[in-house]
Amino acid sequence: MRPFTYERAASPAAAAKAAALTKGARFIAGGTNLLDLMKLDIEQPTHLIDVSRLPMAQIEATPEGGLRIGASATNSTAAAHVDIRARYPVLSEAIVSGGSPQLRNKASVGGNLLQRTRCAYFYDTSKPCNKRAPGSGCSALEGLNRNAAIFGASPACIATHPSDMAVALVALGARVETVSPSGDVRTVPMADLHRLPGDMPHVETTLVPGELITAVVLPPPPAGGQIYRKVRDRASYAGGLASVAVAGGQVALGMVAHKPWRAQAAEAALAGGASPAEAIAKELEGASSLGRNDFKVPLVARLTAAAISEAKGRG
């Protein structure tokens, strides 16, 4: 691991300010993804700002009838929280389908949103990757791309976002609360937090440099049943090939795009009276695949139709 300096932030605003002052600074909370990537020399921060002890771990009701989840709450704490299990079961289910218990005990809610892709070429420092080394090319285009995106990819990058939790948050219409280096506080809709790759796949979010996620805010749950379903190569502790989160009439897909994918075409079709199968077929009209990931299209069709039907039974 390359040398870096380390500081403990005194407040969220001070952390954001410090991050803007030092080139190459990164926040660290759980560290489960960042340290892994630092050991592999993929992430090369010069300075770490520890935000894990800031008072951002509370999970509390909002005046609007929703829930505010502090960004440094652990994934395990969020998944086990009584209000999340009772009112936002899709979120609890998504969290416990990701990683291992040890990782979830350490990983933070904010960090989960900012984790990097699992694309094999992002991890292989001997190969070109526009996300890791901008301008070097995309090895996955004609390489091992079984887990590549089927929505919103670009010639520069076909990687997918690996988070399970983020898929549920998009389906629930959550917002992300942040503080910027200037001290400004704002909220960003979850669906707008992550970017599509375009020609800048190394820029993954719409956050400005130094901007710190302080919380995730859930609106009151939508009417109707909720469910999270994930397909992967083994039954536990594996990244997904595709996933779906359903919350009433709101549907998001995971591991199919550079960001958690809100299935707006499917939602509109459902609202217009389409069957679950017809609705997801509408969404998949916009899908494209590369050969090795062709299977994702019928997989997402069946997975999503089944999940929407099952969620109705839970409503």
């Binding site: 086990a80 005990n105 350490k106």
Partner: protein, 167 residues
């Protein structure tokens, strides 16, 4: 950087490089070599220890971030003269072959039983239900600990026996 960590009940004040993981601190500085470095990337669970009672991968955590924390490694779980019930059960059930993953398996078991007790759900817990001890739950909750000798059936039996002994 000056860091004080209570390890197995004893406060240890150390000057640590910010790059040092909690696992390397235990193994290289404190010579507590029970926690193992298997993959060093959070994939195998051999480095599992309890921090403030919660199981984590010590390979994916910086020692400087644990200032003031209480860490229990396998050396703090039991002694050869006075084994912990989980250790006794692993011996009784022949729940290992090479033994490399065993310290992590045992620390993980302790954390896992506490999580079940606290009602933390897993993907096997039915929606809204309070999780209950079962083979299906245990298998799911231990999936972060790999055993390349594949002693999994014996590990499950050992965990069942240990839980009865601890009741």
């Amino acid at each position: 950087m000056r860091t004080t960590i209570t390890v197995n009940g004893t406060a240890r004040a150390l000057d640590v490089d910010p790059r040092m993981t909690l696992l390397d601190l235990l193994r290289e500085h404190l010579k507590l070599t029970g926690a193992k470095k298997g993959c060093d990337h959070g994939q195998c669970g051999a480095c599992t220890v309890l921090v403030n009672g919660v199981r984590i991968n010590s390979c994916l955590s910086l020692a400087v971030m644990h200032d003031g924390d209480e860490v229990v490694s396998i050396e703090g779980v039991g002694t050869p003269e006075k084994l912990h019930p989980v250790q006794t059960a692993f011996l009784n059930q022949d729940a290992f072959q090479c033994g490399y993953c065993t310290p992590g398996q045992i620390c993980s078991t302790l954390g896992m039983l506490s999580e079940l007790e606290a009602g933390v759900p897993s993907q096997e817990t039915p929606p809204g239900a309070t999780p209950v001890f079962s083979e299906v739950e245990v298998r799911e909750r231990m999936s972060g600990n790999i055993c390349r000798c594949t002693a999994y059936p014996q590990i499950i039996e050992a965990i069942k026996q240990a839980r009865e002994a601890m009741a």
